[in-house]
C-alpha cells in the first residue's frame, strides 16, 4: 500500500517537476501546520498555554513507529491509533491538571513534555532510547502529507465553527459567564486539550514517517516553544492565521539557510516585534476571507487610501 502511495506521489511530482527538496519542505510544513492547528484550538480559542505539546508529538510518533515496525500494523490504522493514544494521554492528564488555573497548568504541561522525553530516553528496549528508533516505513510522502493537512484544517474548521468551538471561545472570553449559561468549563477545556494532543500526535506520526527515524531529543522543550510562538505569530483565535504562521515559520529558515543557527533568535525577535506592534498576531481573532481580500485589493487600486488603512487593522 505504501509503495502504491509513493508511486502515485512520484508520478505526480515528476509530472509537475517538484524535486525532493521541495517535497521535504512541504512535508515538514504540513507537519507544522497540523501541530499548530492543534495548538491554535488550545491557545487561540481556549486560552490555555501548553509547553508540552512536543511531548504529545513524540507519543504519536513513537506509537506509530512501534505499531508499524514491531507489529506490522497498517500505517493508516497506526496513525489513527497513535493520534488517539496521544489524545487519551492528554484526556487523563487534563482530568487531573485542568482544575489548576493559569500558570500552574502551564508548568505541569512543561513538566509532562520533559518527562515524556526522558521516559523515551530510558526505555531502550521499546524505543531504542537516546540512539533513536530506526526503520520506520516511509509513508509520509508529499501528497499524503498535504492530504493530511487539508483534512486536519477541514476538521478543525468545522469543529471551531460548531457549538464546540463556540463553547471553547466562551470559556476563553469569560469562564464565569460561560458557567452561568450552563457550559461545563472544565469539560470543554479538557476537550480542547485532547483535541490539540490528537493533532500533535498526528503531526508527530507524519514526522516519523518522513524521516524514517526518530530520536527523543527532536521533541524537546524548544519544539513546544516553537509551536506556541508560531501560533502567536499567526494570530490567536484564527485558524487561517495559524496556517499562515506555520507556513511562514517553516519557509523562512529554508529561505535564510545561512542564518539557520540564529533561528531561535529570530523567533524571539519576531515574537517581541509582534507583541509590540500587533499583539493579536498576523491574523488575530478573524479568519481570512477571500471576499474581504478582494475588496481590499480593489480599494488599494481604486485609490481610496483612508479606508484601506482601517481595513488592514
Amino acid at each position: 500500500m505504501i509503495q502504491v502511495f509513493n508511486a502515485i506521489n512520484n508520478a505526480f511530482c515528476n509530472f509537475f517537476g517538484i524535486n525532493s527538496y521541495i517535497q521535504g519542505v512541504v512535508v515538514l510544513m504540513c507537519v507544522n501546520i497540523i501541530a499548530v492547528l492543534g495548538m491554535s484550538v488550545l491557545t487561540g480559542f481556549t486560552r490555555l498555554f501548553s509547553f508540552g505539546n512536543a511531548g504529545f508529538m513524540s507519543i504519536g510518533a513513537y506509537a506509530v513507529a512501534i505499531l508499524t515496525v514491531r507489529y506490522h500494523v497498517n500505517f493508516l490504522l497506526a496513525i489513527v491509533l497513535g493520534s488517539a493514544f496521544a489524545g487519551l494521554v492528554a484526556y487523563l492528564l487534563g482530568s487531573i491538571t485542568l482544575k489548576l488555573h493559569g500558570d500552574y497548568f502551564l508548568i505541569t504541561c512543561l513538566g509532562f513534555g520533559e518527562c515524556v522525553r526522558v521516559l523515551f530516553n530510558y526505555t531502550k528496549k521499546l524505543t531504542g532510547g537516546s540512539a533513536g528508533f530506526p526503520g520506520i516505513p516511509n509513508y509520509s510522502n508529499m501528497l499524503f502529507a498535504v492530504i493530511c493537512a487539508v483534512l486536519a484544517f477541514f476538521i478543525a474548521w468545522r469543529f471551531i465553527h460548531s457549538k464546540y468551538g463556540r463553547n471553547l471561545t466562551s470559556v476563553r472570553e469569560n469562564e464565569l459567564a460561560a458557567e452561568a449559561v450552563g457550559i461545563d468549563a472544565f469539560r470543554f477545556k479538557r476537550m480542547s486539550f485532547t483535541f490539540s494532543a490528537i493533532y500533535a500526535g498526528w503531526a508527530g506520526a507524519l514526522y516519523g514517517g518522513y524521516l524514517m527515524y526518530i530520536v527523543p531529543s527532536s521533541f524537546n522543550l524548544a519544539k513546544s516553544c516553537e509551536l506556541i510562538t508560531t501560533t502567536v505569530i499567526g494570530g490567536l483565535g484564527s485558524l487561517t492565521g495559524s496556517l499562515l504562521g506555520a507556513i511562514i515559520v517553516t519557509l523562512l529558515p529554508e529561505i535564510f539557510r545561512g542564518l539557520a543557527n540564529y533561528r531561535m533568535l529570530l523567533y524571539g525577535i519576531a515574537v517581541v516585534l509582534i507583541i509590540m506592534f500587533k499583539p493579536s498576531g498576523l491574523y488575530g481573532y478573524k479568519e481570512f476571507s477571500l471576499k474581504r481580500f478582494i475588496a481590499n485589493i480593489k480599494k488599494l487600486f481604486g485609490g481610496k487610501k483612508p479606508a484601506a488603512g482601517k481595513e488592514a487593522e
Partner: protein, 261 residues
Amino acid sequence: MNKETASVPVLEMQNVEKHFGGVHAIDNFSVKIEHGRIHGLIGPNGAGKTTIFNNITGIYAPDSGKIFFLGKDITGSSPHKVAQLGIGRTFQNIRLFSNLSVMDNVIIASNMDATYNMPQAIFHTAKYKEREKHLNDKAMNLLEIVGLQDKAAERANSLPYGHQRKLEIARAMALEPKLLLLDEPAAGMNADESLELVDFVRQIRDRFDITILMIEHHMDVVTNLCDYCTVLNFGKTIAVGTPAEVKSDPEVIRAYLGGNE
C-alpha cells in the same frame, strides 16, 4: 399562572449561612419566592446580596442551610448544573463574551439546544443544519425582544453600557430559565433609563412567565417593580415585606440613613 408550579415555590432558601473567615457574609438567610413574583433584594453595599446570588448559582457553597429550586435541592451544585436546571443570571459588573458578536453571545447561551454530536458537526448533517438554524432564529428573536436586532453582528464590547445590560439579559433568557437573577440591572442608569428598565423587566416576566429575583439600589425601581422585598444589612435580614412596608420600617431607615435615632 400555572396552578401546579404555584404550589411549589420556585426558590426556597432555608437558614443559609456563608462566612469568609470571621466575616458573616450571610447570616441565617431564608426566603421563599412563589412563581411569577418579582422579589427584590436590597441593602447597603457589603450587605451580602451578591453573596446570596453566588450561593444560589453555585459559585460558592453555603456553610450551612439548604437551597431548593422548584423543590429540588441544589445546595452546592456547580454553576453550570444550576444554569442547566433553569436559573439564568446577570452580573453586577457586566460579564459578556466581549470579543464575540452580539449574536454569538446569545447563541452560546442556548448551547443546550445544540443537541448534535461531533460527527454531525464535522459532516454538516441535516440535523446539524436544522439545529444551527434554530439557534440563529432563537437568538435573533431574543435580540428583537430586547431591541438589539440591528446590532447582531457588532462586537459585544462595542455596545454602549445600557445595551450591554440588555444583551446580558437576552443571553440569560436564551437559557429559557424559570428563575432569573438580576444583579443591579439599573446600576449606572439615570431616572429615565431606570423607568424604561422597569417596563422592560416586567415585560420579560409576563412574556416568558418567569420568576425574578433582583438586587437593586434604586428605591424607585424597587417600588415600581417588586412584589416583595428582603432588606439585608451586614448579612442579616432586617425586614421582609412589600416595598411600601419595608420603606416605612424604622430598622430599614436606620440602616440606610445611618443611625439617626
